[in-house]
Subunit: 165 residues, 2 copies
Amino acid sequence: ENAVITGVTGNKNIAKVAIRGIPDRPGVAAQIFSALGSQGINIRLIIQSIAADGLNDISVVVSREFVRQAAEVLEGQRKSLKAKEIVFHDQLAEVSIVGSGIASTPGVAARMFRALARRRINIDLISSSEVRITCVIDERRTTEAIRALHREFQLERLQRGMLRG
Amino acid sequence: ENAVITGVTGNKNIAKVAIRGIPDRPGVAAQIFSALGSQGINIRLIIQSIAADGLNDISVVVSREFVRQAAEVLEGQRKSLKAKEIVFHDQLAEVSIVGSGIASTPGVAARMFRALARRRINIDLISSSEVRITCVIDERRTTEAIRALHREFQLERLQRGMLRG
Ligand SMILES: C[C@@H](O)[C@H](N)C(=O)O
Ligand SMILES: C[C@@H](O)[C@H](N)C(=O)O
């Protein structure tokens, strides 16, 4: 199947909060998101990669208006979670390519990441699905990243109007 | 907005490969996925969470038939990537809840994770979007996890036919 990339999106109105060094055992993610959910915090992305030595981290991407509140809620849970630390960063943006057949077309991710790498744009977080690959990057590189992705996937005509935030 | 969960899916035909301890600087993700893409490996999920001390890991979920090949390709790149190690695990399954308004409805993720936690099902990886939350778990717990999620989101009538793999 050949992927058809139909668009590039950007969103600067985001921030990440991360809970580091939590025990990799049942109930931990449930406790974290129960705490966030009870505060009405909108969660855009949840990212948990491979654990190491029985510990893991969870990165949460939220709309920027929620980052302080999210960090405070999690700091309040830190001891009972046995988490090492709670960190947050709000000078970030999401840039995504969207389309169909992304997962089943090897090389699409490579093209996206190469387009960013050529401009020396560091990729802070990655989350993908069958229809989208999202990278979180430094928000100061957003316009440049979107332009690079439009060029890579030959979507220049769509450049206007794609940037939210 | 209130989320409407329309389904629960499971897929046992998966495996994860992880590249641990890669330098967190531009070009690394591009190199990894160029190598995988050149081999025609289908990539279901790409998961990269927060870095630590200038290093990061990337977890890649692939269809199970690709795991050995993916691990070999990455092992071949390990030195030039300066990666610490390449690991893989294929006794895994994806379970997902799908619907609308997931990101904007706090508490949905908590309900999913609590349903798994109550059965002591450990969550190995997490990847979410606005329309789906996917957990990777031990494949031996797949049927139980799907049943638990159907119950939590009141979708029992959908239980038959949901398990692929
Ligand atoms: C780290 C966290 O996801 C843990 N494995 C859990 O199941 O809750
Ligand atoms: C870790 C990896 O994603 C790196 N930050 C890159 O941009 O390629």
